[in-house]
Structures are given as C-alpha cells and as structure tokens.
Assembly symmetry: C2
Homo-oligomer: 135 residues x 2
DNA sequence: ATCACCTATGTGTTAATTGCACATATAGTA
DNA sequence: TACTATATGTGCAATTAACACATAGGTGAT
C-alpha cells in the first residue's frame, strides 16, 4: 500500500456490503445456499442464472471466487464430495454468519429497490417513459 | 486514446446502458439536466447528492468525466458561461439523444427495481428479514 | 484406445471503473 | 496577504470482472 494518504481503497466501495454490487453474485449464492437449491459452485452458477438477480450470465469462475471469499469470511464452510460420477465437487454449507450476511444484503437491496423505483416514478412525472431496446 | 464510444470491455458490462451501473451518476445527471435543476458540473454533483440515486457521495470529478463522455456521445452539448461571479462554468444542455438515453436508463432501472424487489420477497418467504446496520 | 464432450474447479490476463489526491483558476472576504 | 468558496479538470492506484486458459474425472461414440 503506497497510496498517498494511507488510503487503501480504489474502486467502487461504500459500505460493508457493497462488493459485487452490480453483479449480485454474492446475494444470489447466499440465497441459493439458504434454500438448499444448490450446494457446489458449478451448480450455484447454473441456479443463479435461473434466479436472474444478476442480469448477466453468471459464470462459474466468478462464483468460485465469490465462494472462496465467503469462506474466508466464515459465511460458508466447504467439504469435498467425491461420491457420484464426474469430478469431485466442493460442497458448500451456509453458516449463521452467512445467514446474517444475507440478511444484510436484503436490507441493502430493499433500500436500493425503493430508490430505483422512486427514480422511475420521478422520470415518469417528467414524461420520460422507459424505452425498451431491441439490440 | 480511444474515446468513450469505442471502449472495449473488461469490467462490468452487459448492455448498452450498463456503464456506471453501481454509481448511477449518468442517469442522475441526465435526469437533473432534463428537469433543468442544474446546468453545470459542480452544481450537478450537489444536486445528484440530494437526489440520492447514487447511494454514495457523488464527487464532482466523477460528474465531469461523465459529462465529457455524454458529450462525446452527443447526449449533451456545452457552452462556457463567463457571466456572474467566480470561475467560468461549463453549462450543459440535454439533446434529444440524451433524452433517449435517459429513457433507456429508465427501462433498465425499472427492470432492475423489480428484480431486486422480487429477491427481497423471495428472502422474506425464506424467513430472512432485512438487517439494518448502524454505521 | 482415442477422441470429443460434459462436468467441475480453478488461475491468468487485461480492460474498465472510480475514490482520493493534486493542479489550476476566479472572486470575495478577513 | 492569506484564506475560503466556487469551478473545472488530471493522475494514480485499488478494485472489479469478462474472457481465455489450465486441469481433471467420467461417458459415449468412432
């Protein structure tokens, strides 16, 4: 860290839960683990795509990195599953800390949803209707 | 030095209107120009903070960069205003292209708001209530 | 058996974003 | 003179994230 004033932050960051803000991979993963819909990375990526919170194609690579970060924070624990066919799966389980993290995300996302909805309303009052693109 | 219009992707990007996704500076600026609430960068930054769409403190530096990008795309036009006291202001005006850009943003933001609200609902059904943090 | 393919987990590279520090300038005030 | 507020801008480094690549087990086709 050689920032000019002992600074350690660079890009987007504005709170405890601001990471992966746009991609929404972390809340997707936490939710899927909470439901029990999926347990390992590859499957979580597939389910996250069906959940559709991320707006983008959720790639396994991003999910793996997210899971390792969550594990480092104690939000999930993992174990190898060598049973069944195909390569071994690293199966993840949500911890209590992970459940709290998800609850925090829900608060952030709830506020954001309201802010965004309010903006749409303000624009509507200005006579600006949403334009849906075909590209 | 390639301009903003021809930039290639590396980071977050998933559509034509996905830039500055997390900060929401571009839609804030376009909206404020549409209402006529502000006309130059410094003032736009102040008004954007009151609008509160960005969730962060909107810094003038980010607004200036945003405005130059918008001008390169033909969404705004600018002119120097040397009247009045203090340093000269670069006053921006929204173009028809800018209005369309805002309408596109409204569509994106509207969809996002619904997705986020749905996620909050799903979590509520799981018994996960939002946790509000004190900061 | 070899190949192609799917599943599954990871790393490397590189472009884009952005907060903060810094630079510059005008005008009013102490 | 010095300081403050307004106003516009640049430079840099931390962070993010898409895409490519690497590795490996298992299955079915040629």
């Amino acid at each position: 860290m050689r920032g000019r004033g002992g600074r350690q932050l660079g890009g987007a960051r504005y709170g405890q839960l601001a990471q992966q803000l746009s991609r929404m991979i972390e809340p997707s993963v936490l939710y899927l683990l909470a439901t029990g819909a999926a347990g390992h990375g590859y499957q979580l990526a597939e389910q996250a795509n069906q959940l559709g919170l991320a707006e983008t194609i959720v790639e396994p690579a991003a999910v793996y990195r997210c899971l390792r970060g969550l594990e480092a924070d104690g939000c999930v624990v993992s174990a190898w599953d060598t049973a069944g066919s195909g390569p071994a799966r690293r199966v993840y389980q949500l911890t209590e800390a992970g459940r709290q993290r998800l609850a925090g995300w829900v608060a952030v996302i709830n506020q954001r949803a309201q802010r965004l909805a309010n903006f749409v309303k303000l624009c509507g009052e200005l006579g600006i209707a949403p334009t849906f693109f075909e590209q």
